[in-house]
Amino acid sequence: MDYILSLIIFFPLVAGILGFLVSQNSIRIYGISVAFIEFMLTIILWIGFNGNTDGFQFVEHVTVISHFGMNYHLGVDGISLFLVILSTFMTMIALIGLNIKKDVKNLIISVLLLEMTMVGVFLSLDVILFYLFWEFSLIPMLYIIGAWGSDKRIYAAIKFFLYTFAGSILMLVGILYMGYLYHATAGVWSFSIPDWQLLILPFNTQLWLFGAFFLAFAIKVPMFPFHTWLPYAHGQAPTIGSVILASVLLKMGTYGMVRFLLPLFPDATIYFVIPIAIIAVIMVIYAAMIAYAQEDMKQVIAYSSISHMGIIILGIFAINAEGVTGSIFFMISHGIVSGALFMLVGCIYDRRHTKKISEFGGLAISMPTFATIYGVMLMASVGLPLTIGFVGEFLSLIGFYKVSWILTLLAGTGIILGAIYMLSLYKRSFFGEITNEKNRNLKDLNGRELAALIPLVVLVLVLGIYPKPLLEPIDFSVKKMIVLMEKKAVTQEAKEFIVKVNSIEGGL
């Protein structure tokens, strides 16, 4: 178990490179097997994970450039554990559902490399390493969109790359400055997150660093008004690209917020709570409205992702255990649900080669199983209790309620607007008589699609009814982090804020 994290990161890389040797005919089964083994490795990690221990587990530390304190440093805690499992799980599901024939070998290798970078982002404890994986994740995605996308794929791929890259450059500056500050304070170079977490920074410095990191994360999430790359990327990406993009890549941004912004810059975080919450509320409402206006089924889901990410951000900036735990759970649940929805759109796209809602209507008649699974995912997406979507949404909102009831009320309109665009989408596509004869004889889901979708349906229900196995370790790590924040905070207001939002009593 000592080197399991390295194994998890580099197994897809090695398998991906070896994939060049596998023949075109057996590459699909090869890719699925690799993804399955990788997923099993992360399950083993979960089994070995101790939910009641402080700090990071399975830590690996190899000195690389000792002079500058840049090391190969890995570790996992409750916050990252399930995001890692989500990454490997969704990669596996996406590969099972894969239905592309053209250059499938290169595609699968790209996906495996992407898997490595995603897992690497969540497991790195050295910031330089984190940054490497963070940036490297753009490249496989650039290829996936640019090579296997639809008509405007080059534009979408380049936009995705440049936009997120521009944000990350600023983060790099922040990282270097932070390293410099650490050196100035401690006398040695270090880029290790646990070291950085102990560094107490003056308020003004925190503001600048917060800004540099925040922008990179905000573009990745993506937060309003930096979100316009997302509809293009989703619109043009092949199904597998959209699934991974929505379920994992966006979560890198929110993970970064939890991992960096909160513990490293507690005072700046609290200083910016209200402005960020306002942006998050705008995101929730604005994206939900735009989702309602869409004519393309995939775009509805793309914009709904933005809307849901707004609630996740609200939960993070609640700075209490309820909100942050809820938002991390919501990252997982949104990964599963949005991934499933993109796969479902892919299923109908494969049959009809269109995503326009007006082309559909009455699909429930010709494809009842498809309609049922879509219905389950729709209900999870609108956050019906006992589905996975409710837990995170509820906890994020209840957490933020303590910060501001009015903003929570406004963000809560997301549950109404979500129902509006989702139900209207469902009605227009699935209900009514079949108006377009092309939809009359569509085949219902086949075995491959069911194999990909059924596990997601099961998870949606099981984790909706019994989220405890996930919530417990997350909550444990989050509580530790909040204690750390309270200890570290330099301003009195920040200390008081943290105490206030974490205690019962007090009101409206």
């Binding site: 936009k159 440049l162 979100h227 316009t228 790359w229 604005y286 409205m289 206006a293 869409q294 209490n320 255990a321 309820e322 735990t325 809820g326 759970f329 429930a364 009842p368 199983t369 049922t372 209900m379 609108v382 019906l384 209790p385 006992l386 409710f390 837990v391 509820f394 906890l395 909102l397 209840i398 309620y401 009831w405 929570t408 009320l409 809560g412 309109t413 549950i415 109404i416 129902a419 139900l423 209207s424 009605k427 699935f430 209900f431 009514g432 008589e433 009814i465 019994y466 989220p467 405890k468 919530l471 997350i474 909550d475 509580k479 974490n502 019962i504 009593e505 007090g506 009101g507 409206l508």
Partner: protein, 618 residues
């Protein structure tokens, strides 16, 4: 007793899941019988629990943990006490009848199995709603019944109007659910728990302002489910669903969930009489408002739906004024006679080939005597005539309003009682008596199957006798609920009863008298008030013009103009600026010696200027 609790709760779920297995196969009578049997088992368990709670004590179980994070810890906990057991018995009883009835009603439907799966799922959700021992558990059931209501209103999904109505119901309920969630958040952050017993024990220690807000938020939740003004429009549209669904969900059980919530949270509402007064006033308003729309409507099911709305208003008056047990009592009796009325209407619809316009019926008494008698009983009970159930429960609500000194509320309810009697008998007269208008349309009416009629008899029996259980009901429920003290003189009470009965009777007599003579002349249809009522006070129109359309327009505007033309265009502009400045700068590298020398001079000047003015090191 725990096993009975679990049986009562999970039997409907088992039925639903088993029926769901057959959802895509052709009609199988087995699913109908199987689910009905399981609902009946659930009913029997509820009865056993009723006896147990009456004789011994309440049953409370914690099944397993659900959500815990931070200080929050919520488990699946269920409680069977005097209130929930009454609800359980009512729900399972009506559900059993509706299930058996549906075997006949849905006989020729291709999605027979799917229907029973949804119907049983609804019962399960409703049981969770009433049995949970905490607010979030209640919320599970709350959303669960909303989901089942969506599925069942839109059951005939090929009909666009049905799926539209289903979406309307779901979305309107979601608006209210947000209010309810806000109430739950507020409770949590002030008390630290959502368990009923803990919340009710510590609510007295809170600031009255916070308690008021909790009360208001929870009531907003109740307004959605119970379709109170202004969130009422979905209920009439929900009549698109199959009639058994209307009987079970949109008359007897789900729509009363709001009343149940107020009764359940009675310990909160007793502390805030002002909010209670608002609830009662809104209830009285809805009682008359809805009844007035029922006066002129020609749609058989919509009339009954408005009547339901109006009766919900009565219940809220009682609950708002603190007479919780009376609200609950009316809830129960109303469930019996209203579902009976709806199911009878279902028989009529079948006989009329799904025609709903009551002006196209008439003279059905001969062909459908049993249904006519059953609907007659239900209507008399609804009108509140002694000795039927409605008399006891409705009359008590009027007494409460009078006793409270809220004479305006009393007057509204009094008028409402007259209107109720009138529209109920207008419906009976137009459907069962008078000219056989339907013959013009070539319809040959036929009575429903005998087992369908037999299935309805328990409801008819209860609609007749339930009122006589008033005293034992009072004794039983006030063990848990706050008692309501009447201070009225006996003689005043007698006068009130007399007055209410008189107006109800005169409403009936007026309707009978008028419609025996062929009803009103066509001229009144041109009256402005008639049009106003027929168009539901133009409220649906108003919503469409003021909310739905602007929302769609604004959404499109946000997408096409803001998102594409401002946000995205500015991103592209940055990219294009960089690109074009690169293009332009490229020209410097033209290789032309004279222009490059010129640029070199420019560069030297710039550097010199910088050297003169910017000297940080000095």
């Amino acid at each position: 007793m725990e096993q009975y609790l679990y049986i009562a709760l999970f039997a409907p779920l088992v039925g639903s899941l088993v029926a769901a297995l057959f959802a895509q196969s052709s009609k199988n009578i087995f699913t109908g019988i199987f689910t009905s049997t399981l609902i009946f088992i659930s009913f029997v368990s509820s009865i056993i629990l009723l006896y147990y709670v009456n004789a011994n004590t309440i049953v409370n179980v914690e099944m397993m943990d659900w959500i815990s994070a931070g200080n929050l810890s919520i488990s699946f906990g269920f409680v069977v006490d005097q209130v929930s057991v009454i609800m359980m018995v009512t729900v399972t009883l009506v559900s059993t009848v509706v299930h058996v009835y549906s075997i006949g009603y849905m006989e020729h439907d291709e999605s027979f199995n799917r229907f029973f799966s949804y119907l049983s799922a609804f019962v399960f959700s409703m049981m969770i709603l009433v049995m949970s021992d905490n607010f979030l558990g209640l919320f599970i059931g709350w959303e669960g019944v909303g989901l089942c209501s969506w599925l069942l209103i839109g059951f005939w999904y090929k009909k666009t109007s049905a799926s539209w109505a289903a979406n309307e119901a779901f979305i309107m309920n979601r608006i209210a659910d947000l209010g309810m969630l806000m109430g739950i958040f507020l409770i949590y952050w002030n008390i630290g728990s959502l368990q009923y017993d803990i919340v009710f024990a510590s609510i007295v220690n809170l600031d009255i302002k916070i308690v008021s807000w909790i009360g208001i938020f929870l009531f907003i939740g109740a307004m959605g489910k119970s379709a109170q003004f202004p969130l009422h429009t979905w209920l009439a549209d929900a009549m698109e669903g199959p009639t058994p669904v209307s009987a079970l969900i949109h008359a007897a059980t789900m729509v009363t969930a709001g009343v149940y919530l107020i009764v359940r949270a009675g310990e909160i509402y007793t502390l805030i009489p002002n909010v209670g007064m608002f609830i009662a006033s809104l209830g009285a308003f809805v009682a008359v408002f809805a009844a007035s729309m029922a006066l002129v409507n020609r749609d058989l099911k919509r009339i009954i739906a408005y009547s339901t709305l109006s009766q919900l208003g009565y219940m809220f008056v009682a609950a708002g004024l603190g007479a919780y047990w009376i609200a609950l009592f009316h809830l129960m009796t109303h469930a019996f006679f209203k579902s009976l009325l709806f199911l009878g209407a279902g028989n009529v619809m079948h006989a009329m080939n799904n025609e709903l316009d009551i002006k196209k019926m008439g003279g059905l008494y001969k062909a459908m005597r049993p249904t006519a008698i059953l609907m007659g009983i239900a209507s008399v009970a609804l009108a509140g005539i002694y000795p039927l159930a409605g008399f006891f429960s409705k009359d008590k609500i009027l007494e409460v309003a009078f006793n409270d000194g809220s004479y305006i509320l009393w007057a509204a309810l009094f008028v409402g009682a007259g209107l109720t009697a009138f529209y109920s008998f207008r419906l009976i007269m137009l459907v069962f008596f008078g000219d056989k208008v339907h013959e013009k349309f070539g319809i040959v009416p036929h009575e429903a199957k005998p087992f369908v009629i037999y299935a309805l008899t328990p409801l008819a029996l209860l609609a007749i006798v339930a009122g006589f259980f008033e005293h034992s009901f009072y004794e039983f429920t006030t063990q848990l609920l706050a008692d309501y003290k009447f201070t009225l003189d006996h003689s005043v009470v007698i006068n009130l009863i007399f007055a209410t009965s008189a107006i109800a009777l005169s409403g009936i007599i007026f309707a009978v008298y008028k419609y025996i003579r062929g009803g009103f002349s066509e001229k009144i249809e041109n009256w402005r008030i008639y049009k106003l009522l027929l168009n539901q006070y133009y409220i649906p129109k108003l919503y469409e013009v003021c909310i739905i359309k602007p929302f769609a327009t604004l959404s499109r505007f946000a997408w096409l103009n803001i998102d594409n033309k401002i946000v995205d265009a500015s991103v592209d502009m940055i990219a294009k600026t960089i690109c074009s400045s690169g293009e332009k700068a490229r020209e410097m590298q033209s290789g032309n010696l004279s222009s490059m020398l010129r640029w070199m001079v420019v560069g030297i000047i710039v550097l010199l200027v910088l050297a003169i003015f910017y000297r940080p090191m000095v």
